[in-house]
Assembly symmetry: C2
Homo-oligomer: 346 residues x 2
């Protein structure tokens, strides 16, 4: 079983190192191979997603991804910016299903900007479509008839794209509390109208799941007002980008939250949702929990080792509950110390 | 001076009645004319925005709008749904600039789901572009080459649209704390790249305003984490829809928040941001403050009577601070009682 490690930029290398150590400590037969990605890859080879990195990702059974993003490279043309690496991997590996769980961990009730009683009720998964929508439609800059500059992007979904992510949403809800909320903007967008129609069609196969629909503006309100009302949210690429970041912040500590991006073969890319955090990079202050929990998701979704996933998750949650915390959680532990504490609990 | 009153659906009539009474109590020479809109208009005349309603809105110096939305009419074809009335008014009156202030009012520190110390720092204005973006681009349903259904919507902005809303953003910031944050998704969208380029060009005329840029996913996080960091946010129609609703919920009581939609002649449509709230319609339980504060925005932005706007705002804030509150704020006052209390303070 080959795991590709793509550490990337900023704190990416520090946190993926701890996640890899945790996987190794589970004494399980995994082979690791590393390759550069993002700004680091641009600096090393002139491209954020070099051919050999993409090749490794293709060969691997799963990808453990750190983070990409480097403010010093923001001036590059779009195709060479660090973020293009993650967009390219999603497209090339057809990673259409992004799972983003958000919950409040024991002992972190005070980490959220929400009142503790509101925040502690958060336990939801956002299922975000990841290879379509306005992200991957035709786009460009052109001149209008009157000669002014115009930027444009085509938003679109076809019925198969909606149906397959809807199924992931229903399946996810079925394994949890059985409630799925589909978020769209069907009162304005035709893309959303098709989305809603197809979700309703797919629902016929999931009579045991309770389906509701919500407009995205209302969803953004409800995630603040009462996030505990949600079990699973399924939504498109753009709305999912916004709402999943909002939801994770409601849960308080983005340093704790993992994500998975899956294709139809259960090949997956696993990534902490925090970014490259250049301001704290290289200081040993980064929270490795999100990367370690991403490794746990990998065990569960791509490697079919749910019992090891459970052990790793319990170890991370235990270490944090015991107060072994990096500065983002108000603690004084280093990245390595948290890694050690988790490994000690495995 | 002619004011069009478009009460609309649900609690719209109740709250616009109180706002109108407040304007009358200011003993100022205004003429009022009323017309149906939204679901009410559909039921009365078969269309959510009848010709005579649009005509009144065109003739008037300003429009006081209640709310549209009626769940019983959700099954209608899109062109006949209540929401089309507000989209049609924005388009026909070229109301490109939507101002949505969000702040926490004295005495309502406990109304927000955010911790009081986080919520009480909220004092921001979202300047949302209102007549472009994916809302008004070409859209439809079509078949792909392989015969499947596809929904699509074209997102686009041209440089003039961006420049004029950017100017509103800079002007608004200049009259406040001098900070403007432009929100986009320039790492993915070409529409956003043009947006960012043009905002930077316009900034040359506003050296006294501090400009920053933020991706929309990060903005959704920051509005939860630390909303007090924002003074003025300027953004496109779709992102503005989502973020302004989120921001208003952060401030706690959407029953308190007004909005203005302006065109280049300072003609404006003024609307509480809460919707039609069909569940409490007709019960005298609706909070009229947002509608009354919308009337205050009308005095300020369309009628050039800032001193009357100040008086009306102070009266609303005073009544609420004194505990005259509808149930959404934890009180027991009726819509009319709050209206009376405000008028008594004028
Ligand atoms: C970096 C960026 C292109 C990316 C996205 O918008 O999808 C990120 O925000 C994410 O959510 O993974
Ligand atoms: C009713 C709907 C079309 C509208 C919008 O999306 O603009 C509403 O959400 C708003 O923000 O005024």
């Amino acid at each position: 079983t080959l795991i590709a490690i793509l550490p990337g930029d900023g704190i990416g290398p520090e946190v993926t190192t701890e996640a890899r150590r945790a996987l190794e400590a589970l004494a399980y037969d995994l082979t690791f191979e590393e390759a550069p990605v993002g700004g680091a890859a641009y600096r090393a080879c002139g491209h954020p997603l070099p051919e050999q990195t993409l090749d490794l990702a293709r060969r691997a059974d799963a990808v453990l991804f750190g983070a990409v993003g480097d403010p010093d490279l923001d001036g590059l043309e779009r195709a060479l910016r660090p973020e293009q690496a993650i967009l390219g991997l999603r497209r090339e590996l057809a990673l259409f299903a992004n799972l983003r769980p958000a919950r409040l961990f024991p002992g972190l009730e005070d980490a959220s900007a929400l009142r503790p009683e509101v925040a502690s009720a958060i336990d939801l998964v956002i299922v975000r479509e990841l290879t379509g929508d306005v992200y991957f439609g035709e786009k460009g800059q052109r001149q209008t008839a009157t000669g002014s500059r115009q930027g444009y992007d085509i938003m679109a979904y076809d019925e198969h794209e909606v149906a397959r992510i809807a199924r992931v949403g229903f399946e996810t809800a079925r394994k949890r509390r059985g409630r799925l909320c589909s978020v769209d903007k069907a009162n304005v967008l035709e893309t959303s109208q098709l989305w809603r129609d197809v979700v309703i069609e797919v629902a016929a196969d999931y009579a045991d799941v309770e389906l509701s629909h919500m407009y995205v503006d209302n969803a953004a309100m409800q995630l603040v007002r009462n996030p505990g009302q949600f079990d699973v949210i399924v939504t498109g690429n753009l709305f999912g980008d916004i709402l999943s970041d909002q939801a994770s912040m409601c849960a308080g500590s983005i340093g704790m939250l993992p994500s998975a991006a899956l294709n139809t073969d259960a090949k997956g890319l696993y990534e902490p949702i925090h970014g490259s955090a250049p301001d704290i990079a290289g200081k040993g202050a980064a929270n490795p929990c999100a990367a370690m929990l991403s490794a746990a998701m990998m065990l569960r979704h791509s490697l079919a080792r749910p019992e090891l996933a459970d052990r790793l998750e319990a170890a991370v949650i235990g270490a944090v509950a015991d107060g072994i915390r990096t500065p983002d959680l108000g603690g004084t532990a280093t990245t390595r110390q948290v890694g050690d504490a988790v490994i000690a609990r495995l």
